[in-house]
């Protein structure tokens, strides 16, 4: 790293504006690796295609992250055994999954896959550590990541009848002898067509009936099976889908029903709007949503063409500065751009675990939303004054490693600063603005940092040692605390 690092220069290279914009929206933080990758493949379009073809992109750090959390390797029955013996609680499994997820966001090279895994995890949302789903939750996470850049109907088929989902939304006890509407309703409202599609209570009942038969032995080993004896048999009809449903094994009906929902124009619109809300702005135009929805439908629910249309739409290019990072994204981004990277998760003080509490302090905790609708995708949710204060504080804490996080690669100052000296304070601020924000420091930022330090911009630093830990922390915290530091 020391020979080729961008930060060796007094004026580190920054990406052209559109490159920076794409990288900022489709990664969890534009660190040196993203900059280098994007420049080496010739442009943002090429970078985006390589990211979409995720399986051909080597990602050793991302792949290693799960091994830092041994609990996550437990089979569902082993996990249940541990809880039954009171060695661990469901909460412990949830906390490890959340920490792993945060760590993977920080270290992964397959950033677009990670961003889309987060998007789908928030749509098909199951909290971590929830009693009825926790032994299967890591398996559900793998399903999401596997299909994050593929066809939605394949993902939907795998996710809706997954044992974690069956436990969480009570499909595990939805049988012909006692219908439980929970999953059947949320499948329509949250995962596919949404309320504007106009389904009624009879549709909800049919939806629940189709889903009968998927058993999970909740609180008893958590074995999952399909039980034809529990399947409700008879004609079903939901929003234009009808089926005789005469066979005791209803799995073929389920597959056809889920395909119907995934291909429904209302689902296309709903998913397109959510994508646009995440990647463009809180108020995407009807035209943009329609274009993304059309691409999704034309490609039989493949999400990649939809993303290509989105990123090439003029409204995307015009949306710079319109999305605020969520608290989780904020903490992950700062860890990435300051170069503090988890290398394990040993002990409570590990960075991979601290980042959970840090984002929680700012106002959001990974997989901790209590309801099935997932965290709000709107930036306005995360733009409250209280959140801004908390981000200002956590930025300094991360920049200075004030929490004393361990089991992480935290670069020495010499490896973060230029190799040519002396430099002025103004140059130092510009250097850090380029490294942390991906852009040159405007005069207003140089002046703001200088005022915070109560030093003139012309103040000269002779060498690395002349930049004290304190000065460096204040410079980095203040740079991160500029409004652009919270935007993606």
């Amino acid at each position: 790293m020391s020979t080729t690092r961008l930060s060796a220069s007094v004026s580190p290279k920054v990406l052209p504006a559109m490159h920076q914009h794409v990288a900022s929206r489709f990664t969890f933080g534009v660190d040196e690796t993203v900059v280098a990758d994007m420049l080496s493949v010739g442009g943002w379009q090429q970078w985006f295609e390589r990211q979409l073809a995720w399986s051909r992109l080597s990602d050793p750090h991302g792949a290693a992250a799960s091994s830092w959390f041994p609990l996550l390797a437990d089979s569902p029955s082993a996990a249940w055994g541990r809880v039954k013996r009171q060695e661990k609680s469901a909460w412990d499994f949830g906390f490890d999954l959340a920490s792993y997820t945060m760590a993977r966001k920080i270290v992964a090279r397959r950033q677009v896959q990670e961003v889309m895994a987060d998007f789908w995890s928030n749509l098909l949302y199951i909290p971590a550590g929830e009693d009825r789903s926790f032994p299967w939750r890591i398996s559900f996470d793998e399903v999401i990541r596997q299909h994050a850049l593929g066809r939605f109907r394949t993902l939907l088929r795998a996710a809706v009848v997954h044992p974690a989902m069956s436990g969480w939304l009570n499909n595990s006890s939805n049988t012909k002898n006692g219908i439980n509407e929970n999953l059947g309703r949320e499948l329509l409202e949250l995962y596919t067509v949404g309320r504007p599609a106009g389904y009624d209570e009879a549709d909800v009942k049919s939806s629940a009936r189709i889903l009968t038969g998927f058993k999970v032995k909740v609180f008893d080993g958590y074995d999952a099976s399909y039980e034809p004896n529990d399947h409700w048999v008879g004609p079903v009809s939901v929003l234009g889908f009808s089926h005789a449903n005469a066979d005791a094994d209803g799995r073929a009906v389920v597959a056809a029903y889920l395909d119907h929902l995934a291909r429904h124009p209302s689902t296309a619109t709903r998913i397109a709007r959510r994508l646009c809300t995440r990647f463009v702005s809180d108020t995407p135009s009807a035209g943009l949503v329609a274009a993304v929805a059309a691409a999704y439908l034309a490609a039989d629910t493949d999400i990649r063409p939809a993303l290509r249309v989105l990123v090439r739409h003029p409204e995307f290019a015009a949306s710079v500065g319109q999305k605020v990072r969520t608290p989780t994204e904020d903490v992950v981004n700062v860890a990435r751009v300051i170069g503090s990277v988890p290398r394990g998760a040993a002990g409570e003080g590990a960075l991979a675990r601290h980042v959970i509490w840090m984002s929680s302090t700012v106002g959001q905790q990974q997989f901790d939303w209590p309801r099935p609708d997932g965290f709000p995708e709107t930036s306005s949710t995360w733009t409250s004054p209280a959140r801004v204060i908390r981000s200002w504080n956590i930025h300094y804490a991360l920049a200075g490693n004030w929490w004393g996080s361990t089991d992480a690669a935290i670069p020495a100052r010499a490896d973060l600063l230029p190799t040519t000296w002396p430099i002025t304070l103004g140059q130092l601020v510009d250097h850090q603005s380029r490294m942390l924000l991906g852009r040159e420091a405007p005069e207003s930022l140089r002046r703001a940092v200088a005022e915070t330090l109560n030093l003139p911009e012309s103040r000269s630093f002779a060498n690395v040692a002349a930049v004290s830990d304190w000065t460096f922390t204040v410079v980095r915290g203040a740079v991160l605390n500029t409004p652009e530091g919270m935007l993606r």
């Binding site: 009825r132 939304l169 009570n170 006890s173 939805n174 049988t175 002898n177 006692g178 219908i179 439980n180 509407e181 929970n182 309703r185 409202e189 949250l190 309320r195 209570e201 909800v204 500065g321 319109q322 605020v324 302090t361 106002g363 959001q364 209590p370 309801r371 099935p372 609708d373 965290f375 709000p376 930036s379 306005s380 949710t381 733009t383 409250s384 004054p385 209280a386 959140r387 801004v388 204060i389 908390r390 200002w392 504080n393 300094y396 207003s444 930022l445 002046r447 703001a448 940092v449 005022e451 915070t452 109560n454 915290g477 203040a478 605390n481 500029t482 409004p483 919270m486 935007l487």
Partner: protein, 419 residues
């Protein structure tokens, strides 16, 4: 369990202070309550509200009102719920029609003192069995307008010409609920100690940080610029709060362990005792979506709710006389059990009202009965719009408020549960 009889200072309950102020013709005069509180902050914050406070407890997930307030005289209730119905003999404070779930025991002393009332068959004017739409409707509470402004925000706007950031607060979750969204400032926070600026212990450095942030955020176009400027104001305001707010309950007050609701109510009590001018507090009590195992799950929820509320009123001490609590939930649940010994999404629901101004110790309802012709799609009907319930509370506790602006177009149909 906690005995709320001890030293709770609840003798200030009811209309006494309000009536005195009215008689003296002082009700609308700014500054009156400031002298009552003695010292803190600006007088205009308090003038219109007379220092009264509304706490809105949201039972998220759709609480089963039929378990909370059991209609024990209805055979339909017992036949529809073979495994989860609660026998009349187990109910607390039963009358001829209703009784409280046995897990409400910690609140029975308040009930008996007339400080708690139970309302039934309350809800939205039309059924909506979607959690998320129903919550949005309940909290927006103005179906005639497309503007997304919550009813608590409208309440705050109606109580002061320029509302203070502490007038309407959510304590617990940091995500602002719909009820608080709108033009008046609001705050959603877990506590108050983390609203300080970086380096707040070093006055000089803190000031330099503030100055540099103000320069950058005031020139930044877009919502983050405005949020930054408001953040600086909020930090300045929060610095005026005594650190004791987050210190926990006084000796003798015990909230249940590991209870997020208890933590939020403890912080709420601390804030109210600190007298910083809060008028409405929204608190979430999650986990009421009982599609499975209604019996033990709802019992646990009610027990926690009751223990938390009993501790809360004890915690408030003399300030209990200013505080009214109302519970709301997005919908009630289906009358008939499902296949999982649970209940799916329904309609009509129960509401509890506790504290100052309540004519309690009684159930209030225009009870539609559970006769099969009376049900709406298998659910308890709604005979009282929840907005009418809120209007009844606001009229009693915030008499200067123009209710037609908080709940436009709603005709109030009082049940008579407020004094």
């Amino acid at each position: 369990m906690t005995d709320v009889d001890d030293d709770c200072g609840c003798d200030e309950y009811g209309p006494s202070r309000r009536s005195i102020l009215k008689v003296a013709g002082l009700a609308a005069m700014a500054g009156v309550t400031t002298s009552m509180f003695g010292d803190v902050l600006t007088s205009t914050v308090y003038g219109a509200s007379e220092g009264n406070i509304l706490v809105v407890l949201s039972l998220r997930g759709g609480a089963d009102g039929l378990s909370m307030i059991v209609p024990h005289a209805e055979s339909a209730y017992y036949s529809a719920r073979p495994t989860t119905a609660i026998a009349r003999a187990r109910l607390q404070v039963p009358d001829g029609t209703f009784g409280l779930h046995p897990a409400f025991a910690p609140l029975v002393p308040m009930w008996q003192r007339g400080q708690m009332a139970g309302l039934h068959a309350i809800g939205l004017p039309a059924p909506n069995r979607s959690h998320f739409e129903a919550m949005e409707l309940v909290e927006d509470a103005d179906p005639g307008s497309s503007a997304r402004i919550g009813w608590i925000n409208r309440m705050i706007s109606g109580l002061a010409a320029s509302p203070d950031v502490f007038d309407g607060i959510q304590i617990g979750s940091t995500v602002t609920p719909t009820s608080l969204v709108g033009p008046s400032p609001s705050l959603a926070t877990g506590g108050f100690g983390d609203l300080m600026l970086p380096f707040h212990t070093d006055a000089t450095l803190k000031q330099r940080v503030a100055t540099s942030l103000e320069a950058q955020y005031s020139s930044h176009a877009g919502p983050l610029g405005e949020a930054g400027i408001n953040a600086l104001a909020l930090a300045a305001r929060a610095a005026q709060i005594d650190g004791s707010v987050d210190e926990g309950a006084p000796p003798g007050v015990t909230y249940p362990k590991y209870s997020a609701l208890g933590e939020a109510l403890g912080t709420t009590a601390g804030l109210i005792r600190a007298k910083v001018g809060v008028k409405a507090v929204a608190v979430d009590a999650g986990g009421w979506d009982h599609h499975v195992d209604l019996g033990w799950r709802v019992e646990n929820n009610i027990k926690e709710l009751a223990e938390c509320l009993a501790a809360f009123f004890l915690d408030l001490g003399a300030d209990a006389g200013r505080v009214t609590v109302v519970t709301l939930s997005e919908f009630g649940r289906r009358l008939t059990e499902n296949g999982s010994r649970g209940v799916d999404h329904g309609y009509g629901n129960a509401v509890l009202v506790l504290g100052a101004g309540v004519a309690g110790g009684t159930f209030y309802s225009r009870w539609p009965t559970l006769g099969s012709g009376q049900q709406i799609d298998g659910d308890l009907a709604v005979t009282t719009d929840y907005r009418s319930v809120l209007m009844e509370i606001l009229r009693a506790r915030f008499p200067t408020l123009d209710l037609s602006k908080v709940f436009p177009g709603v005709t109030s149909a009082p049940l008579g549960f407020m004094r």
